[in-house]
């Protein structure tokens, strides 16, 4: 099941590659990969492109099965996959969102400079590591009742802000205001609620992290200024995590439901993990109501982590989050399905857009983005690996035309976890990162190699392709100075 993908790829232009609809029986549309010559060679190394072709077989898919430049082999959908389905005759597929529903990134800015933070960086990292639990089985610092969970599923980040875990202004700069409408707690199983109950305020493990950064370079000073990114050396924070066990259980529950109704809806699939149901069916509607609840839970989770991040900075710098200028820049989901309007062949259509490891990238003036950002476009937050860079970009009109308002979400893996470990055997990564000025706190040092730079594509290449293809525009580059991981 491993190995290089040898299927046909037609080069459309420098940044677009097509998998013809004729490649595989059952494909309803072609595949379209946004990549350059260098990235496409890396992408061909595993079976991600077969997964792009598989997604193209799903009922109701419009125009193409899309892959972002950071695409890699996943399960069912590729990671970095985007697919838009017609609401009338299309499907919703839980695997097209993933187990970690509303995995996403939140960014905070500060008035602090790297020079001010450096002398206390070890203490700051310790404090963050203590206050933001990470790793397997981590338990959050707040206890919530079953009734609380039901409210959180509907109210999302607002539930936290109303209890003092954040600022009202945080909600204005969170996708969907931190709570997507249409969530129904009754559609989220008891098991899912139980599984998430103790995990609010925790990061998880794998590629999830909390990163303290310094601004390295600003490409678009005007857009950066609107986001509160003013100068090189300014300290910022990325929080990358999702809906924890609650989201995983929602996905599992509905994969089981949909696996059993495939025959009823006469849906044939090349991969069982693509299980789906018509958007308008009871199963599809129930999943969407549950998924929205899990998405809201994730926004509440990142809200709480942002609170503990502010708390930790205030403690170490003997100040308050307000005086440190710790405003939120934005919070964006990269594993989610949304109902969105697009012009298709001269007609406005509502589509169910699946983003599985892809970031929404709406253009200036779009009604769904905060008033503050209407002039510049929606902020796009793309974390790289822990040894290199992360990026802030903005959405574009071109993304609306080319990629269902979507762009990349990260660097994208190129090495398996075992291969990365083998390659870095005997290397003291904590010391290597320290040499680069990056302080690391991790639950298990042995796992660090799996997330090393060597395991990922260079995020610089991914971001440059997004920028050059026009599906988002570079605003600023951030360099990690402290990383908290599971």
């Amino acid at each position: 099941m491993t190995g290089r993908w040898e299927g046909p790829l037609r080069k459309i232009d420098d940044y677009r590659w097509e998998i013809p609809q004729t490649y595989k029986p059952g494909m309803r549309v072609p595949g379209l990969v946004i990549a350059d010559e260098t990235l496409i060679e890396l992408i061909r190394r595993d079976q991600a492109l077969e997964q792009v072709a598989n997604v193209a077989t799903l009922p109701g898919i419009v125009k193409y099965s899309l892959a972002m430049p950071d695409i890699h082999w996943g399960y069912g959908f590729p990671v970095g996959g985007v697919a838009a389905m017609r609401v009338d005759d299309g499907v919703v597929s839980p695997g097209g969102i993933g187990f970690d529903i509303n995995c996403g990134v939140r960014m905070l800015r500060t008035d602090l400079t790297e020079a001010e933070v450096r002398p206390r960086i070890e203490r700051l990292a310790d404090e963050l590591f203590k206050n933001v639990p990470s790793g397997v089985g981590a338990v959050g610092k707040i206890k919530v009742s079953a009734k609380d969970i039901d409210q959180i599923l509907v109210q999302g980040a607002r539930w936290m802000v109303e209890r003092g875990y954040g600022w009202a202004s945080d909600l204005e700069v969170t996708e969907e205001g931190g709570a997507i409408p249409g969530a129904n707690p009754d559609k989220v199983s008891h098991h899912a609620k139980e599984r998430g109950a103790s995990q609010l305020g925790t990061l998880g493990s794998g590629n999830h992290f909390l990163e303290v950064q310094a601004v390295e370079e600003i490409y678009d000073p005007e857009a950066a200024r609107v986001m509160g990114i003013e100068r090189a050396g300014q300290v910022t924070v990325f929080i990358h995590c999702g809906s924890r066990g609650l989201g995983y259980q929602v996905c599992e529950d509905y994969l089981r439901v949909m696996d059993k109704v495939l025959a009823k809806y006469e849906i044939r699939l090349p991969d069982r993990q693509l299980a789906c149901a018509p958007v308008r069916s009871p199963e599809g509607q129930d999943y969407l109501a549950a998924m929205r609840g899990a998405a809201n839970f994730a926004w509440a989770n990142r809200q709480l982590i942002a609170y503990w991040t502010r708390y930790s900075f205030a403690k170490i710098f003997e100040s308050t989050p307000e005086r440190l200028g710790m405003h939120m820049v934005y919070d964006v989901a990269h594993n989610i399905a949304k109902m969105e309007e697009y012009e298709v062949d001269g007609q406005m259509l509502t589509l169910c857009v699946h983003r599985k490891g892809a970031t929404r990238a709406f253009p200036p003036g779009h009604p769904a983005i905060p008033a503050r950002y209407r002039g510049i476009g929606q902020p796009v937050l793309i974390p790289g690996d822990m040894g290199r860079y992360s990026y802030v970009l903005v959405g574009t009109e071109e993304a609306m035309r080319q990629s269902w308002g979507s762009t990349a979400h990260g660097a994208g893996r190129v090495q398996s976890r075992t291969a990365a470990k083998k390659m870095l055997k005997g290397v003291d990564l904590v010391a290597e990162l320290a040499k680069k000025g990056i302080v690391v706190r991790v639950q298990n040092r042995a796992l660090l190699a799996e997330e090393a730079s060597e395991a990922y594509k260079d995020v610089v290449e991914v971001v440059n392709v997004c920028h050059n293809a026009g599906i988002s525009r570079k605003v600023a580059k951030l360099r990690p100075i402290a990383v908290i991981k599971g």
């Binding site: 397997v136 109950a197 996905c251 398996s416 976890r417």
Partner: protein, 142 residues
């Protein structure tokens, strides 16, 4: 019987085998917990019963592993030994699995952390049983 890890770019695959399906399923569970924790020192201070059913053996494997993930999360437990019995369908029922599982409450000092497994997936899922040997393959989302 035993298990090994399979290469996957982003996730982790587990291949497990035994004399029959029950043994192979137990080994798959051992493999999954070995991804999450240092499991050599897991004791048996906790005992739990699990019962799951599914339309086919493949889905039964996914159900089994996911029910263990649920249990491990809500009980803050790590499991190390699995007594599994599997019954094929009869008279229109589904495949059924009953198990007694043994483990400990998680103690960070003893069970050092590995990777959190989010779920067992249907992608690349394989269950084979032939002449006194059963083998399964499953990809875990981490």
């Amino acid at each position: 019987m035993g298990f090994e890890f399979l290469d996957h770019t982003a996730e982790i695959g587990v291949r497990a085998w035994g004399r029959d399906l029950a043994e192979a399923f137990a080994e798959a569970a051992r493999g999954m917990f070995a991804v999450m924790y240092e499991t050599d020192s897991v004791g048996e201070t906790l005992t739990r019963q699990i019962e799951v059913s599914a339309p086919d053996p493949e889905a039964l494997l996914v159900e089994w592993l996911n029910s263990l993930l649920y249990l491990a999360t809500v009980e803050h437990a790590v499991f190390g030994r699995f007594e599994v019995a599997i019954a094929p369908p009869k008279d229109g029922t589904e495949w059924r699995l009953r198990a007694t599982v043994y483990g400990d409450p998680v103690d960070p000092a003893r069970h050092s952390f590995g990777l959190e497994v989010k779920a067992a997936t249907y992608h690349g899922l394989r269950v084979r049983s032939l002449d006194g040997r059963a083998e399964v393959e499953v990809i875990l989302d981490v």
